[in-house]
Amino acid sequence: MTVRRGVLKGFDSATYTATVQVAGSLAVWLSSVPVARNIAQAELVAGRSCAVVFLEDGNPKDAVVAAVWT
């Protein structure tokens, strides 16, 4: 399990998933990352910093955006 820093680039409220720019990736974002349901939709603003927990480091579906901050 690893935790990676990122920047929120987009949020899909229907699937409650986010597009995240993981730190170090200048031009390519990781899409469809599940977001913790305890984070309110209003807080998921593009440009905010976020922390992504990768339960299995190699599987982007086995991950969750666990924190968002400005």
Binding site: R4, K9, Q21, V22, A23, G24, S25, L26, A27, V28, W29, L30, S31, F54, L55, E56, D57, G58, N59, P60, K61, D62
Partner: protein
């Protein structure tokens, strides 16, 4: 096991044989020539659209858009080299501020360009190696501005044009002297920022642009000419580089050539802070099809240009040429090879399943290797390829296997003292290239897209290593996982994660790497009979893991080694994997997990005279009365080799043995 000649096979079994060690260094990277670009010309021409081609007489044809007059500036340099008149241009037709193309084959050359009206493709052709051109022909018209064009000429006179009108790509062919109709591609984009093509069996394409989502893309594609792709059909578009919308990164000005291998230049532009327009270059091995798309991680080129570099050359013998309006570069496609064999005092190597290293001590009392930046020794530099073949002097003369292990030189040290001067070279095998590759960005595969081999081939390709599938397991073909590589991750960690999903292995060898399932099979060699054992050690141990559980989202499967459970009770290993979505996958994963654990321990070692053909993962039979073994099978999981001329001469190998 590497193939050996009968004489070498016979010699290595003799109780007394004369060693022969061949050690060479060359400026190659995993068997491909490292291009050392030498700039031959620096001028003051304005950077704008340009093209280059090389007809059969080796002359260099260059064309560029001269923005001050909106004309084509053209030059032909008959014998290009240092001091050639690369600054001398003649003026041809009026031209739009758009891409133009040059193609050549034998004595024929073709110049394709967009006139001032911006909505036509015009060509002029030459039959005297580009010395003169015929009249202008209009071969295509469009309802939108034509921004990019690329061209190919084949020896049979077939001409192939690809151009972008607005955001639509068209192809147009002339066969039998007659131009056909332009046909639009079956894809869509919001912008095309550059095109390149080369003929090698099929029409190989590089297309830079922006897709419908606003993401910048550099695609590779094949337009069929009957080799690997049906005539006049498009392959899928495969990403060479990509950048999401809003990232401020775009790609443009690709240039593609197949000389010694597939080589591609393109420009990556960043409009953020600090902005750049930086050429990048990449390649992959010719043993792969172009569709494999196994490009090395692009390497930045020391230049800032928005219009890129045009790559061309006559053939695989080279040299390769790079051109931009104000510059010309040349790089040999062949490399000098330095034979160090006579100066080798000591050689040792260690090959393991996940990496190998070599150390070569050279005499330097003659001072030959004192100044390694000049002279014959200049080929010894960090990154150069060290190749050694361990052999014997046989009845046919000195012999060593042709496919010898190759290593990458990492450094060296000079030593002096006790009346001796030496140079020691330190090198590691191609696994070190995997280890040193760091992901520059996020890479992601959606579930159901690429299988394990295809993802591994991508990773090895990024490290510049040609990975071939020589017999992977059914599980490796069936698993198409959701997978991601994070920025900053190294290739070794990624490969380890992928290999852990099956029992399949990667064997790094002379020309690249192979991926396969190490199934129990026939022995490839026998020790203890004709081939003497100097000393040996054989161990037995219970399994570290004898029960595996695999958990998918809605499935659990187990695999057991019952005999061992009877002895040690169960020793459990669990795996949680959201990619395991079926019972069959879960069962196969559990079985593979146990199999991988079974293969992992080292069970002994065997020291013997050198078997010149021995490779990792070979299955060998061992007969050793003292240990009570008769034709017992082991898998070779490590190979050490020692050769020494100083003091007591040494020439022996040590095999690490594992389970079959």
């Amino acid at each position: 096991m590497r193939a050996l000649t009968p004489t070498l096979l016979e010699a290595q079994k003799q109780p007394s044989a004369q060693p022969y060690v061949r050690v060479t260094v060359s400026d190659r990277i995993v068997a491909l020539t490292r291009l050392r670009w030498e700039r031959l010309y620096t001028g003051g021409e304005t950077d704008r659209y340009h093209a280059a081609a090389m007809p059969g007489d080796g002359s260099l044809l260059r064309a560029r858009v001269e923005p001050s007059t909106s004309t084509i500036a053209y030059q032909r340099v008959a014998n290009p080299g240092a001091g050639s008149a690369f600054g001398s241009w003649s003026t041809l037709d009026s031209v739009a501020n758009a891409g133009l193309a040059l193609a050549a084959s034998g004595a024929n050359a073709l110049l394709a360009f967009v006139p001032l009206n911006g909505v036509q493709v015009r060509i002029r052709e030459s039959s005297d190696y580009g010395a003169s051109f015929g009249t202008v022909q209009i071969v295509a018209g469009a309802g939108a501005f034509i921004g990019s064009v690329a061209a190919v000429l084949k020896p049979d006179g077939t001409a192939f044009l690809i151009y972008a009108a607005g955001s639509t790509v068209f192809v147009l062919k002339r066969t039998g002297g007659t131009w056909g109709s332009a046909v639009a591609w079956p894809y869509s984009a919001s912008q095309i920022t550059g095109l390149a093509c080369w003929h090698s069996g099929d029409y190989l394409l590089a297309i830079a642009g922006v897709d419908g989502s606003g993401a910048a893309r550099l695609w590779a594609a094949v337009y069929g000419d009957g080799a690997t792709q049906a005539v006049d059909t498009w392959s899928v578009l495969r990403d060479v580089a990509q950048a999401d919308a809003g990232s401020n990164v775009t790609f443009r000005a690709p240039s593609l050539a197949v000389l010694d291998t597939y080589r591609l230049f393109f420009v990556e532009s960043y409009s953020g802070s600090v902005a750049y327009d930086r050429p990048q270059w990449t390649w992959f091995a010719p043993s792969q099809s172009f569709a494999a798309n196994a490009w090395r991680e692009p390497v930045p080129f020391d230049l800032n240009t928005a219009y890129g570099l045009a790559l061309t050359g006559a053939d695989a013998l080279g040299p390769a040429w790079l051109s931009m309006p104000s510059g010309v570069w040349r790089a040999p496609l062949t490399t000098a090879e330095l034979d160090l064999s006579d100066d080798v005092l000591e050689l040792s190597s260690e090959l393991r399943r996940d990496g190998g290293r070599a150390r070569v001590v050279l005499r330097n009392d003659h001072g030959r290797y004192t100044g390694l930046s000049t002279g014959a020794g200049a080929v010894i530099r960090a990154g150069a390829e060290l190749e050694f073949g361990a052999g014997y002097v046989t009845s046919a003369g000195p012999e060593a296997p042709a496919a010898a292990p190759r290593f990458v030189i990492g450094g060296w040290e000079h030593r002096s003292g006790d009346g001796e001067a030496t140079v020691t070279l330190f090198a590691r095998d191609a696994w070190s290239l995997v280890e040193r590759w760091r992901a520059r960005r996020q890479f992601a595969w959606a579930a159901g897209t690429d299988n394990l081999f295809q993802i591994l081939r991508f990773v090895f390709g990024r490290a510049g290593i040609d990975l071939i599938n020589t017999g992977s397991s059914a599980l490796a073909s069936a698993l198409r996982p959701a997978f991601t590589i994070h920025p900053g991750q190294d290739g070794r960690r990624v490969v380890a994660a992928l290999l852990s999903l099956t029992a399949d292995v990667v064997l790094v060898s002379a020309l690249g790497a192979s991926y396969y399932e190490p199934v129990a099979g026939a022995t490839t060699y026998r020790y203890g009979g004709d081939h003497a054992i100097t000393r040996a050690r054989f161990a037995s141990a219970g399994r570290a893991v004898n029960r595996a559980q695999v958990f998918g989202p809605s499935v659990v499967a187990e695999s057991f080694a019952w005999d061992d459970i009877g002895d040690q009770f169960d020793r459990l290993r669990q795996a949680h994997d959201l990619n395991v979505t079926t019972v069959a996958l879960a069962q196969d994963r559990a079985a593979a997990l146990l199999r991988r654990e079974e293969l992992s321990p080292e069970l002994g070692e065997l020291v013997s005279p050198v078997n010149c053909g021995q490779e990792l993962y070979d299955i060998v039979a061992v007969t050793d009365e003292g240990a009570g073994l008769s034709d017992a099978s082991f898998r070779v999981v490590g190979i050490d080799l020692r050769f020494g001329r100083r003091g007591r001469p040494t020439y022996e190998q040590r095999l690490l043995l594992g389970s079959v």
